[in-house]
């Protein structure tokens, strides 16, 4: 494949060329998927600099492991898994460095929020797409890393419980508990954002 053909080539063709050592083909893959990979890192880390660094690290790792990619999933999915694992490693390192507070321990098990009254109205009804995205992003930012991650993996990456448990190195029970708590907390946060808007 000639260098000038890269922009019209499929991901599969680019991966093949990159496996042969063609850096230009890999550059095209980076250009195509860089925003998606960065967005995933940012959704997990909630920090622009960390997200840039981790997405860069993910690209370097993917170049080094390109031969291991057998095309069982799409290249984009494979890359996303790499950046998710790097983010989780970073979050684990950060967690080891800090002392868990009682509040965090409550969050882990669901805490008092488990007993919260159900939000009976749909707080996102009739919202414009852009506004909805903005609110969801704001609410996600208020969750702990553990709850945000499980929500991101389930709702945005469509992972099953088993896969999330493997990725996050925890039990399926923990995944279910965290997901339940995260969803309930999100419902309350979105409802609060609506209430604030009405005031």
């Amino acid at each position: 494949m000639k260098t000038e053909d890269h922009s019209s080539a499929s991901d599969e063709q680019l991966v093949k060329a990159a496996k042969r050592g063609e850096m230009a083909a890999f550059e095209e893959l980076v250009a195509r998927h860089r925003d998606k990979i960065y967005a995933r890192a940012f959704s997990m880390m909630r920090n622009e600099d960390e997200a840039v660094d981790l997405s860069q690290e993910a690209w370097v790792k993917s170049w080094q492991r390109l031969k291991q990619f057998q095309g069982e999933s799409s290249f984009g999915t494979w890359m996303t898994r790499i950046v998710i694992n790097l983010c989780l490693d970073q979050l684990r390192k950060r967690k080891r460095q800090r002392t868990e507070s009682i509040e965090e321990m409550n969050e882990e098990s669901g805490g008092v929020e488990r007993q919260m009254p159900v939000v009976t109205t749909n707080p996102t009804e009739r919202l414009e797409r852009a506004e909805l995205r903005k609110r969801i992003d704001a609410a996600l930012g208020q969750l702990s890393h553990e709850h945000r991650t499980v929500l991101v993996l389930h709702e945005f990456e469509d992972m099953e419980y088993k896969e999330i448990a493997r990725t996050m190195e925890c039990s399926i029970g923990t995944v279910m508990s965290r997901l339940f708590y995260a969803r309930r907390k999100m419902a309350v946060l979105l409802a609060n954002l609506k209430t604030e808007e009405l005031k």
């Binding site: 967005a39 840039v52 997405s55 749909n122 995205r133 969801i136 339940f180 969803r183 309930r184």
Partner: protein, 172 residues
């Protein structure tokens, strides 16, 4: 009031993670439990709101700049992974200086030994006699590594008697 296990089962039902038998049980409960119905509705609303509504984030760096960072890091990693080749002249130097170094070591060792040996000889060779009437002769046998000292009476003409009572042997 639903217990936590029932809440999680309801959520698993929503996510399609329950086996058929358990899903049927949850469905049965939903038909008669308004609290379960409300909770399911809340979970569904949140799930629907999230699905496909992830905030769009764009990498805050230009294509060229971001790629240059990645390329530089890849090249650095590849350089670090390569085994460091030895310059040909370092091997030549090693060949030349290894025997010389060995010789230098042997020379230093010999010097130290000889110096030590001489210092030892001086220690035993120098003798002071308290009495002016006494004289002494020493003989060092290098082969047997021993020093012999003869004491004699200066006033006595017959200096060397066969049975000198003061002869002593100092082994080295």
């Amino acid at each position: 009031m639903m217990n936590h296990d029932a809440q999680l089962r309801l959520q698993a039902y929503l996510d399609g993670e329950l086996p058929e038998q358990e899903a049927a049980e949850v469905k049965g409960r939903l038909a008669r439990d308004p609290e379960a119905q409300l909770l399911l509705a809340e979970l569904q609303n949140t799930s629907k709101a999230l699905s496909g509504h992830e905030a769009e984030a764009k990498l805050p760096e230009s294509r060229e700049f971001f790629w240059s960072r990645i390329q530089r890091e890849i090249q650095l990693q590849e350089r670090l992974a390569e085994p460091v080749p030895k310059a040909p002249w370092t091997s030549w130097l090693q060949g030349q200086f290894a025997p010389a170094g060995g010789l230098a070591f042997v020379a230093i060792l010999l010097t130290v030994l000889v110096f030590h040996s001489r210092a030892g000889a001086g220690q035993y060779g120098e003798m002071e006699l308290a009495s002016d009437d006494m004289g002494a002769y020493t003989f060092r046998d290098q082969k047997d590594k021993m020093t012999m000292v003869w004491f004699y009476d200066r006033n006595n003409d017959s200096q060397f008697t066969e049975t000198s009572p003061f002869a002593s042997v100092v082994p080295q």
